[in-house]
């Protein structure tokens, strides 16, 4: 079991408020991802759940039990840190076994659990090595192994992949996803990388300036962002936000067009534009345009498109996929 509930959680450092009255429910077994720009408070929120920071106000419940004033050790959670935070003087075995030793488990139980975790994470050959003798990916696996053996109510991940190179990041992302599938334990994952958020999460929590902007399934956020912030944050390349006449025509203050939700023609269309740059990725072509009376636009076209810099094109947004926002930045349905 590992249902986590946050009730009107507030955190301030001195006069600076970093988390503002956050209400949130994470169901048992759910993979929740906190995502947001740097300094939005996502790591602080995770640390509040872990018990590494004290709340200024509000309550945190785990499985319905108030743990607001319970020490990190007693909360039954496991955490994986961005810097791995391995114990450098202990071997891999010592690192993974540490929590079990603290829990005063019997040596044979420790041995069995450590070996099982090592086998799951492909670490069996490295048990006697020190962390400094491991690669980044292996270190991250040890950190995860250290979390697994405790059989926690929930795993907390604080940007665990940000120190890894791109290829390894993709691999570890898949591994963590599979791990969640096997263990079916609640996972709370903090990242600033929205690709990680979109691919891993059952539920994404978008944060900005210490407040929850929107909570929902990845595609829900993609298809129905509730405001300009989420619209601009989720999706890559980011949504084109257009003000002025084109928006007014559609009874909105701002309209949003995702790069993949517009058509380009060389003969006719709603907006006339000039190609500023075309990025050819093979599978897609990212076209950067300067549209008359609109400003810069980025579009994603499928496949290879022979567009030259300076070429004139016409852009037509797909009305059905268009997002409308009022003058306060709220979504209009």
């Amino acid at each position: 079991m590992g249902a986590i509930q946050l009730k009107a959680v507030r955190k301030a450092f001195g006069a600076v408020s970093v988390i503002n009255d956050v209400d949130l429910a994470i169901d048992d077994g759910e993979f929740a991802v906190f995502v947001g720009p740097s300094g939005c408070g996502k790591s602080t929120l995770l640390r509040l759940i872990a018990g590494l920071e004290d709340l200024t106000a509000g309550k945190i419940l785990i499985d319905g039990k108030d743990v607001t004033n319970v020490s990190p050790a007693q909360r039954g959670l496991a955490m994986v840190f961005q810097s791995y935070a391995l114990y450098p003087h202990m071997s891999v075995r010592g690192n993974i076994a540490f929590a079990l030793k603290m829990a005063k488990e019997k040596p044979e139980v420790i041995e069995r659990k450590v070996n099982k975790a090592a086998a799951t994470l492909n670490l069996a050959d490295y048990l006697d090595r020190k962390p400094r003798q491991l690669s980044g990916g292996q270190r991250q696996r040890v950190a995860i192994g250290r979390a697994i053996v405790r059989e926690p109510k929930a795993f907390l991940f604080d940007e665990p992949l940000s120190n890894l190179d791109a290829a390894l990041r993709v691999q570890m992302r898949v591994e963590i996803g599979e791990l969640h599938h096997v263990l079916k334990t609640t996972m709370v994952y903090v990242t600033h990388d929205q690709v990680e958020a979109m691919t891993m999460a059952d539920k994404i929590v978008v944060l900005d300036k210490g407040s929850v902007m929107q909570v929902g399934a990845p595609l829900e956020l993609y298809n129905k962002p509730n405001g300009l912030f989420v619209a601009g944050f989720i999706g890559s390349p980011t949504m084109n936000l257009i003000r002025g006449e084109s928006a007014a025509k559609r009874s909105a203050a701002t309209i949003g067009v995702r790069p993949e939700h517009a058509d380009v023609s060389t003969t006719e269309g709603e907006w006339r534009a000039k190609v500023r740059l075309a990025e050819h990725l093979g599978s897609d072509t990212f076209v950067h345009l300067d549209a008359d009376g609109i400003g810069p636009l980025v579009l994603r076209l499928q496949g290879e498109k022979p567009l030259a810099v300076g070429q004139e094109v016409f852009v037509t947004p797909r009305e059905a996929r268009l997002h409308r926002f009022d003058k306060d930045g709220k979504r209009i349905d």
């Binding site: 872990a50 990190p72 050790a73 810097s83 935070a85 391995l86 450098p88 003087h89 603290m102």
Partner: protein, 276 residues
């Protein structure tokens, strides 16, 4: 890119470094050489550097006149004992300052250090009277207590700088892993800080070993360390330089050897945190 230096310049710098080192080391060398002279050779003018009758008679006489081993064992007990006990206070204090600092942690640290700025003689009389009334004069416990308190600010400061270098996330990981404060300090922090603790201890032991003001004022015989042993060779009828030098050589030899063996640790300790 490394800076290139001409070989002539490098030789010049090397020679200068050796010269400076020699000047710093000279008093110890001179003491050592003098300890092998007769009293007459010791005060000869112009001074005799190497060409004199080398003799061990000063060492023999020093051994005869005073019980070197007793002073030496007192020095060892006092300098090691006081700092081991000091460490028991300093580690938790430095932990608190580094990882759970209150609003006034920096002020507190500065205040602790400021106690080192006051000359000891300023509090000699009250401490002497306290010691007299508590029966601590000339006792290992009493002198040990003073030496411990004298070094405590340095121990806390040095350990604090070491602990600051340890990523807080590792201790947080231990906390989430179920470690109590005791477990955290004993199983995680201390092993990680061992090099720092070792060099702090070395420096503190050397300081205690050489501490003369309090040991000379509060101890006379029972608890007297090697500093008192040296001082006993300055007699009212004048200095016996050769014997004084022999006593000094005997007194500083153990700590010099310790310092020599552990010089790597010491240098690391003194420059720790300067460069990441």
């Amino acid at each position: 890119m490394a800076r290139k230096q001409s070989s002539g310049k490098r030789l010049g710098v090397t020679l200068l470094a050796w010269a400076v080192a020699f000047v710093i080391f000279f008093p110890i060398l001179w003491t050592f050489i003098t300890s092998f002279k007769s009293e007459l050779d010791a005060i000869a003018m112009p001074p005799k550097f190497l060409f004199f009758n080398w003799t061990l008679e000063n060492y023999a006489e020093v051994q005869q006149r005073s019980n070197y081993l007793k002073y030496a064992s007192n020095s060892i007990v006092l300098s090691v004992g006081a700092n081991v006990v000091g460490l028991l206070f300093a580690v938790p204090a430095a932990w608190a300052m580094a990882f759970a600092p209150g609003k006034r942690a920096k002020d507190l640290l500065l205040w602790m250090l400021s106690t080192k700025m006051m000359p000891g003689v300023g509090v000699l009389v009250p401490i002497y009277l306290l010691f007299r009334d508590m029966g601590l004069l000339d006792s290992l416990w009493g002198i040990g207590l003073v030496l411990m308190l004298l070094n405590l600010p340095i121990l806390v400061w040095m350990l604090y700088t070491y602990f600051k270098e340890i990523p807080a996330e590792i201790l947080e990981a231990a906390r989430v892993d179920g470690a109590s404060l005791y477990d955290e300090i004993v199983y995680v922090l201390t092993p990680m800080a061992t090099p720092g603790i070792a060099s702090t201890m070395l420096l503190a032991i050397i300081l205690s070993w050489n501490e003369a003001f309090w040991t000379l004022n509060l101890a006379t015989s029972n608890a007297a360390p090697l500093t008192a042993f040296i001082a006993s060779y300055s007699a009212p009828e004048g200095f016996f330089w050769a014997k004084l030098s022999a006593a000094s050589t005997l007194a500083i030899a153990p700590i010099l050897v310790l310092g020599w063996i552990s010089q790597k640790q010491l240098v690391r300790g003194l420059t720790f945190g300067a460069v990441k």
